[in-house]
């Protein structure tokens, strides 16, 4: 276990180094940060001077070495726009994204699991067919269309939920700005988390259905039936438990998609989270912030995958980490 975590740590370092290299390599293509700081009428001479001061005229190697040296001391640069350490800026926006993703995942689990199970148990039933139809439509609709549609229906037409922003937040433990504990905060959370969930539900419904129907064919389920176990116990205990293993894997991989989807959702709903921050940083050519964001997300992927592997062992004890080739 310890060796496994250590290996993962080394992997994480490697991933971060690669990401930082790539993010540095593309910086030049993103635009000129100085342009964003000055007005249109600033003379080229002044702009050149600013570039010098910021060290933007140095070569790639010089710039990267400087960054790497600072990074080793825990300094990942200062955002040009926020004028604060990039990591602080990102961590401040983390709660918003985390709560959004958490609520979306909660919705996905609560909706996709029963639907997936129903369609697996009664594949020919009308309800199942309807669910499958809707899920294939859902799969093919891009998330921004869903989001815009939700805004139109729920906030413009029916005025049920606000169309943008995060609303009122409360401070938890002195650092976590939470929107989960006020009515205003929850109402703001409704549309973004629902759109995010809708984008993810179809694939999970289909996944659970196919895994479940496979499991239902297996020998031990037939044995359970002949043993006379009750249907709910067979479906929801024996079958579902074994269905979960591949679901967790895919779920872990989908976490990446979730990050991408939060960027879109946050942009549409002006949700002040990390995804919105990232889009904003790109349009402002806030290169230190872009690099730091990519590294944070890269780090999160490694952590998430490690978790998935650990959960694996818990759900199915026959899977041993060591034999996993990890």
């Amino acid at each position: 276990m310890l060796a496994f975590l250590l290996r993962r740590l080394i992997q994480a370092c490697f991933v971060l180094i690669v990401i930082s290299l790539i993010s540095f390599a593309i910086q030049d293509k993103l635009g000129d940060p100085v342009r964003q700081m000055v007005g249109m009428t600033t003379t080229p001479e002044v702009r050149e001077q600013l570039r010098d001061e910021l060290g933007l005229n140095d070569g790639f190697i010089t710039q990267y070495t400087r960054f790497a040296k600072n990074a080793l001391t825990g300094d990942f640069g200062t955002s040009y726009y926020y004028k604060e350490p990039t990591i602080d800026v990102i961590l401040k926006k983390l709660p918003a994204t985390f709560e959004l993703a958490f609520c979306a995942i909660l919705l996905v689990i609560c909706i996709a699991t029963p639907f997936g199970v129903i369609t697996a148990i009664h594949p020919k039933h009308l309800v199942s067919r309807l669910i499958m139809l809707v899920s294939s439509i859902g799969l093919s609709i891009p998330i921004f269309i869903i989001a815009i549609f939700m805004v139109y229906v729920f906030s413009i037409q029916w005025n049920l939920a606000p169309s943008f922003g995060r609303g009122e937040t409360t401070l938890l433990f002195g650092f976590w700005e939470s929107g989960l504990f006020t009515k205003d905060g929850l109402s703001h959370l409704l549309l973004p988390s629902l759109s995010l969930a809708i984008a993810l539900i179809p694939i999970f419904v289909r996944l659970i259905r196919s895994e479940m129907s496979e499991v239902l064919q297996s020998e031990y389920i037939r044995f359970a039936w002949s043993k006379g176990l009750s249907a709910p116990r067979i479906y929801f205990f024996h079958a579902l438990k074994n269905t979960m293993l591949p679901i967790i894997t895919i779920g872990g991989i989908q976490a990446g998609t979730l990050v991408a989807y939060t960027i879109l959702t946050e942009t549409i709903f002006q949700w002040p989270g990390m995804g919105f921050l990232f889009m904003d940083a790109v349009s402002r050519v806030d290169t230190p912030l872009i690099s730091a964001y990519l590294m944070v997300v890269g780090g999160m992927f490694v952590v998430m995958n490690t978790f998935v592997d650990l959960i694996y062992g818990l759900v199915n004890p026959t899977v041993r980490l060591a034999s996993h080739g990890l």
């Binding site: 635009g31 700081m37 009428t41 003379t43 001061e53 815009i148 805004v151 943008f164 002006q270 790109v282």
Partner: protein, 509 residues
């Protein structure tokens, strides 16, 4: 993002209104990057300056000046103007406003990298007494008042000693503010929210404004911004994408206000990169082949004015008879005369998120050029990347939008068509690399010509020369579009610079 705009436009019809208090929630597309009014010369900064600070004088909708912190002024010599300051004005900190604050502010502006371009022309500001000061220009300065609209007196006692202007680091002034303005900043969450309350000691007691609380939220996405207004989450937005204008107008409870701005959109034809563009017949042909009116009608839905010159009609240099011309026959003839009947290939670049529908306009231009056999390879880029390319003069034809800071033709000429000079910044946006020394001379002369008659002749002369030379392709002057709930009387406080004077805004109960 484009499809989202279309969908909201197609969908947004109904709207149910909320009750109003004197709270204004506004959502514009930009926000100030700093609380320091001298850190960046941008629309966001100046909008903020008009909330937390007051200018010495400001533009009115009819193009004349309105006295604000300066009550009146008089020219004492050709290069010196005496200003008289309003008495009894206090800063948010409680300090009284005196001439010392104004002189301090002007000197600070001269240090600002962004405002320096304008304030370099001012040699010194001198305190006469607590409420009188003289501003002296290096040379006779016809634009002294135009420049003074950028002086928003800062609280000397509050800022002094910690007033450095830094572009990429935290400073006292970028986090703290003490102005004389109608609104006091209460809370700021950078990039997502600013909250103001009305200044209870505001000097302008005659102001009809009744906004007590102002909440400003920048929303960058057009569709989200419009949805926020239609759902009643905000009261006042800018801008509206042309495609949404009709729908917005049809929505009950929502008003749309548009106003011509002075921003000119134009195309540069780089004469250093392409020898073809050195031939005036080719440049003329291109000007004739581009149908400005069609672009305005079809792409901007009429929310722009087709341009045949750089100066909009409220500027001194505007020449009424220089109208955009469209004549394909003549254009082809000119191409033939120049020996390019078969045409040629050029590279073209335009931004895709800087000006209203900039990408579509560029595509239309490319299609129009094809009619005279000029094949334009168009590349559009987000503004962050575009202006780097623009500085590098990376394409044969490049799009530019320009708004004169001084509300004067000469500013357009200085930046867009003067011979380039990296030191002074002249011609910094001259991507035509067109250089006519006599024009540059005229520009210099117009900068110190006090006689309006002679100045008019100089500026109009430049405009005519540009037209004859077909130096650039003027396209159109953009409109500004705002939308608000019916009860918010925005039409009284907006202006063609897009610095709404929210202090005077009335929200009907």
């Amino acid at each position: 993002m484009k499809p989202t705009v279309i969908i909201v436009a197609c969908l947004s019809i109904l709207f149910s209104s909320h009750t109003l208090s004197a709270t204004l929630r506004m959502a514009f597309d930009a926000d100030p990057i700093s609380l320091d009014p001298h850190e960046q010369l941008s629309e966001g900064t100046l909008q903020f300056s008009h909330l937390a600070f007051d200018p010495l004088l400001r533009w009115q909708q009819n193009g004349t000046f309105e006295a604000r912190l300066a009550t009146h002024w008089q020219a004492i010599t050709p290069s010196t103007t005496r200003f008289f300051l309003r008495q009894g004005v206090t800063f948010h900190s409680g300090n009284p406003l005196t001439s010392a604050d104004v002189v301090y502010t002007i000197n600070r502006l001269k240090r600002s990298a962004d405002f320096r371009a304008m304030f370099d022309t001012i040699q010194s500001a001198k305190i006469i007494d607590d409420y009188t000061f003289d501003v002296t220009s290096a040379k006779p300065n016809p634009l002294i008042l135009n420049i003074m609209t950028y002086v928003f007196p800062m609280d000397k006692a509050f800022y002094q000693g910690k007033d450095e202007i830094v572009k990429y680091g935290e400073t006292f002034a970028s986090r703290h503010v003490s102005g004389t303005g109608p609104f006091i900043l209460k809370k700021r969450e950078l990039g997502s929210r600013m909250e103001f309350t009305r200044n209870p000691n505001y000097w302008d007691t005659a102001s009809p404004g009744n906004v007590d609380t102002l909440i400003s939220t920048p929303i960058h996405t057009d569709a989200t911004r419009l949805a926020a207004l239609l759902s009643g989450d905000v009261d006042f937005i800018f801008p509206i994408s042309p495609i949404d204008i009709q729908r917005t107008q049809r929505t009950t409870g929502i008003q749309l206000v548009t106003m011509p701005s002075t921003r000119i959109l134009l195309l540069h034809m780089n004469q250093t990169r392409r020898k073809e563009f050195r031939d005036v017949r080719v440049r003329k042909a291109i000007n004739l082949a581009i149908n400005q009116s069609l672009i305005v009608d079809k792409i901007l839905r009429g929310y722009a004015t087709p341009a045949g010159q750089l100066s909009p009609n409220r500027f001194l240099g505007h020449v009424a008879d220089l109208q955009p011309e469209y004549d394909l026959q003549k254009a082809r003839q000119l191409m033939k005369e120049a020996g390019y009947e078969q045409g040629f290939r050029i590279s073209m670049m335009a931004p895709n998120n800087r000006y209203t529908n900039d990408e579509k306009v560029a595509q239309a231009v490319a299609a129009m050029l094809a009619k005279i056999n000029i094949k334009a390879d168009l590349k559009t880029l987000p503004k962050a990347q575009y202006f780097k390319e623009f500085d590098d003069r990376s394409a044969d034809m490049m799009m530019l939008g320009w708004q004169s800071d001084t509300m004067d033709s000469n500013n357009l000429f200085e930046f867009i068509i003067a011979c380039a000079d990296a030191k002074t910044g002249l011609g910094a946006y001259n991507a035509s690399e067109f250089c006519n020394p006599s024009i540059t001379d005229d520009i210099r002369q117009a900068n110190q010509e006090l006689n309006p008659e002679r100045r008019l002749r100089l500026l109009q002369g430049i405009e005519r020369t540009l037209y004859q030379e077909s130096a650039v392709v003027p396209l159109y002057w953009q409109f500004l579009t705002w939308a608000a709930k019916d009860k918010v009387n925005i039409q009284d406080v907006i202006n063609d610079r897009n610095y709404p004077y929210i202090g005077d805004l009335i929200i009907e109960e």
